[in-house]
């Protein structure tokens, strides 16, 4: 009972109530996150419905191979995160450390590939203001006539805002994971005190879910061809 007393905050009746409150608190935060991303998704939907062919033309130029690989990398990091929770619950300290470090490694791989992709987008003149050539787009034919460069730029702005906001959340998540590694090395994550791993896991999986929707909305609009698969 002594360990239970030391981690139980005085304003909770027992550990179960404390754990339920911690889970509920994270879900409340995530419901506000749904609305942050939801606002951007709604704006995207409005313009997507208004300029469908210009958005599809811009989407076709994005790197679908890196986008798809990153999806698999992120889903793998969610698996190792879920396994971290399991390892904590059953008290396997070494497995916990390994899984946390793998999650950080996979998250870092995702961000590294994202940086590479942004660099390639810059090389391909796909960055509004910094590197964008309207004349390259006036010859592109949509399904209903030529596309308009300003509308293509608008789609690219959505691409950077949405992936950028997602990347910021990834960086925050990496920070939380590093904190968990420090806690785990001190032996502070146990079968009794497992909620930090559980709650950080909820956040990490949420960021994964956001990417699950970014993949079809940004990369997979319109029909692709085998030639689109390149780094």
């Amino acid at each position: 009972m002594s360990t239970n007393h030391s981690i139980l905050a005085h304003h909770f009746a027992d550990l179960d109530q404390q754990r339920e409150t911690e889970t509920f608190g994270m879900w409340l935060f995530l419901s506000t996150e749904i609305l942050i991303f939801g606002a951007v998704f709604t704006c995207y939907t409005v313009y997507r419905l208004r300029y469908p062919h210009d958005f599809e033309a811009a989407s076709a130029k994005l790197n679908v191979l890196i986008g798809s690989i990153n999806t698999i990398v992120l889903l793998s990091s969610s698996l190792t995160m879920a396994l971290s929770v399991h390892a904590t619950r059953v008290g396997r300290q070494q497995m916990l450390l390994t899984c946390l470090l793998l999650t950080i490694l996979l998250g870092g791989t995702f961000l590294g590939l994202k940086v590479l992709e942004y660099y390639k987008d810059y090389k391909d003149n796909l960055v509004p203001v910094l590197a964008f050539k309207p004349e390259e787009w006036t010859q592109v034919q949509g399904e209903q006539g030529p596309v308009q460069p300003q509308r293509v730029e608008l789609m690219l702005v959505f691409y950077y805002v949405m992936t950028g906001l997602h990347a910021v959340h990834m960086i925050v998540g990496m920070g939380l994971l590093i904190w968990l590694v420090v806690e785990a090395r001190k032996g502070l994550l146990t079968t009794v005190r497992y909620m930090p791993v559980e709650v950080v896991g909820l956040y990490w999986h949420f960021v994964d879910i956001v990417w699950i929707f970014l993949l079809p909305l940004l990369y997979l609009t319109g029909t692709h061809h085998a030639a689109d698969l390149h780094f």
Partner: protein, 96 residues
């Protein structure tokens, strides 16, 4: 009564399903579907997100309070989308 411990077998099965669905959604983007790519992609995304939510995020065994927070978030998102789109999608109907 603390939450039950999810066995690793469940996590591996869900992960396999998620990877399979990702390969399906990317493969479908190479098929000529016209305007239906986004609809199909988002529907597969909803299935994947539900798998992550129910199993990785343990919603299957979560309290009613957690479900309330999730459903409230999704409900407000639907208000945001429905009211905004009911404006923008009906503007072409107006004659000035």
């Amino acid at each position: 009564m603390s939450e039950p411990i999810t066995p690793t077998r469940t996590y591996y099965s869900v992960f396999a399903a998620l990877i399979a669905l990702t390969l399906v959604t990317v493969a479908v983007s190479f098929v000529e579907l016209g305007a239906w790519h986004t609809t199909v992609g988002v529907l597969i995304g909803v299935v994947k997100a539900s798998l992550v939510g129910l199993f990785f995020m343990h919603l299957l065994h979560s309290s009613k309070a957690s479900w309330l927070a999730v459903l409230a978030g999704l409900f407000w998102l639907s208000i945001l989308m429905a009211l905004t789109l009911s404006d923008y999608l009906t503007r072409p109907l107006l004659q000035y």
